[in-house]
């Protein structure tokens, strides 16, 4: 491998790790703020560092500090085998993190004759890897619930495990029908398939081609992340906190972070399989590369307008009530943030201006296209993360028997039916 290729590979691995790990505080903040909005209150917005509140994100870092410095407490009955007790949340965390590593963030780039995948683990069986690693994550939950020697924990672990095992069938069969449609198990090839069009005007996104499979897989992925409405494993109203009742401090935080990474991964899988991945609708990678100059000019026009609107919104809303005399440094924060935003916009505009005059087949253009696709991917990721959060705070938790009924009596037969219909159509189109 040449040095640039190694650099690109390293950059992709770092990007994947950052996207998984740095997303956690943002998601925790989003969860609390969106929950606050839904329940008609504000959510955390006071914590600050030197007057910078950033809308409350700083609260998540304060939470991390609190969890790190909390006393390491072990229940008295866990005298031997403490390392096993600690390993359990690590399994959940590590498997959630590994599952995220196969998501393609952008199309392949060619660096000095070498084709590189923009994917932390460059393997071509992404969806199977996700399913396989996802099933290892269950072990962390079962071990944690079991080693706590506690009836609530045991019940939580059993509920979680049986729920995951029963929805894995629906998930697997739903994925099979998507594999039949795309004819591949490679995430990147799936995204390529989705850059075409169906019926002449719709983007060939999986959700439009296979709406039933999309519903089945999205529901099953909600179960896979153990989030409400499928959070029977930690139903606080019945079994305290389920499998992590006895876990405190960073051991609890491992489970907690694992859940958010799993949610992030589930959103990424939904995007990649059903919503065109890193592609903009109607625009394939080739089109992007050919007409990057035109797209750069569109961005040059749109970006300042968007930033100006955002700054106006911030000036109006990042204040205290007019009845409070002292403003508490919020005007100062708004001023500094506006200047930083304007400076960043100017730099990006200049870079875009230079890029718009580059020839279509240059290395610079292909890297710019890659960056644009990463930006599109992150934007879609945030939309689906917010979707996950809104669903959690909108629907009540299902009862355990309702969860099992939905899985076995509705989703499983529907996914089987979907496979048959898909197979008939795929064979019919091919012959």
């Amino acid at each position: 491998m040449s040095t640039p290729a190694i650099l690109v590979t390293l950059a992709v691995i770092v990007l994947a790790a950052l996207l998984a790990l740095l997303m956690i505080p943002v998601l925790v903040w989003l969860e609390r703020r969106v929950c606050g909005l839904i329940q008609d209150r504000l959510g955390p917005n006071r914590t600050n560092v030197f007057g910078f509140r950033l809308g409350g994100v700083v609260q998540s870092f304060a939470d991390v500090l609190k969890l790190v410095f909390k006393e390491e407490y072990y229940p008295g009955h866990i005298s031997r085998g403490r390392w096993l007790f600690i390993i359990a949340p690590m399994i959940t965390f590590a498997s959630a993190l590994l599952a995220f590593m196969v998501i393609p963030f952008a199309d392949d780039v060619v660096v000095y004759g070498e084709k590189l995948r923009i994917q932390a683990l460059p393997i071509d069986y992404g969806i199977l890897w996700y399913l396989a690693i996802g099933s290892v994550g269950i072990m962390g939950m079962i071990l944690g619930g079991w080693l706590s020697h506690n009836k609530y924990s045991l019940l939580g672990a059993l509920r979680g495990a049986s729920q995951l095992v029963s929805y894995e069938l629906a998930l697997g069969l739903g994925v099979v029908s998507m594999i039949l449609t795309y004819g591949t198990i490679d995430f990147n090839a799936m995204v390529h398939w989705q850059s075409d069009m169906v019926l002449g005007f719709l983007p060939a996104w999986g959700a439009l081609v296979q709406p039933l499979a999309a519903v089945i897989v999205i529901v099953a992925l909600f179960v896979e992340t153990n989030r409400a409405p499928f959070s029977v494993a930690e139903g606080e109203s019945e079994i305290v906190a389920g499998y992590f009742t006895e876990y405190s401090a960073m051991k609890f935080a491992m489970y907690f972070m694992g859940e958010y990474i799993a949610m992030n991964t589930a959103s990424a899988v939904i995007i990649t399989m059903f919503f065109g991945g890193y592609q903009l609708p109607w625009i394939s990678t080739e089109t992007l590369r050919e007409h990057f100059g035109a797209i750069a000019w569109v961005l040059i026009v749109v970006l300042p307008v968007a930033v100006a609107l955002f700054i106006r919104w911030m000036k109006r809303n990042n204040t205290v009530r007019p009845t409070v005399a002292t403003d508490g440094g919020r005007n100062f924060e708004t001023k500094i943030l506006s200047r930083v935003l304007i400076a960043m916009t100017v730099v990006i505009e200049l870079i875009l201006l230079i890029l718009s005059f580059l020839p279509a087949d240059s290395v610079g253009t292909s890297f710019a296209v890659t960056l644009l696709q990463i930006a599109v991917f992150v934007a879609k990721l945030m939309v689906f993360n917010i979707f996950f959060i809104v669903v959690r705070w909108t629907l009540p938790r299902f009862r355990y028997d309702q969860v099992q009924t939905l899985g076995w009596r509705y989703l499983l037969p529907l996914s089987l039916l979907n496979i048959f219909v898909t197979a008939i159509i795929v064979v019919g189109v091919a012959s």
């Binding site: 031997r80 085998g81 199977l128 396989a132 099933s135 290892v136 072990m139 071990l143 059993l158 095992v165």
Partner: protein, 171 residues
Amino acid sequence: MLETLFALLSFFLLAGSVTILLARDPALYTTGFLAVMLAVAGLFGLLDQSFLFLAQVMVGVGAVVVLTTIVILTINLKEKELPKEPTRGPWLVLGALVIAPFGWMLYRGLVAATPDHFPVLKEGFGTVQAMGSVLFRDWVLPFEILSLLLLAAMLGAIIIGKKEQSYDLES
């Protein structure tokens, strides 16, 4: 690099197997079982067998280990309820002695017979695609018969499970 990985995986494999044999704490040998399954999957991965690797993780860990653990934790084994095994040490030694010739045969057959001319892999060896075309072109009938076996096993399990409710097969 590959040698280090192989050494690590083999270490986990052996340590896990020894734990399964010797540990009296159910939690410890479940973890050993998990380590063995993951290490075997890793060894398949080192051999460029991506399909076997995935199948091992998905079936071995996702189904076998998970269900075994659920069974162990629902019967709620306590260490003091386990039977006393005073003759365990001699039995282990005897078993090792019985197995030793087979180990030697394996060494002769696999390692010593092919000193340094291992066959070169074909393009696409061990991938999901290659495995699928072999299974569904050359081995369709055995494959389907195997699934019939699984169906029979499942029916048996259902019938055994329903025995409590005076299940009458004649009516």
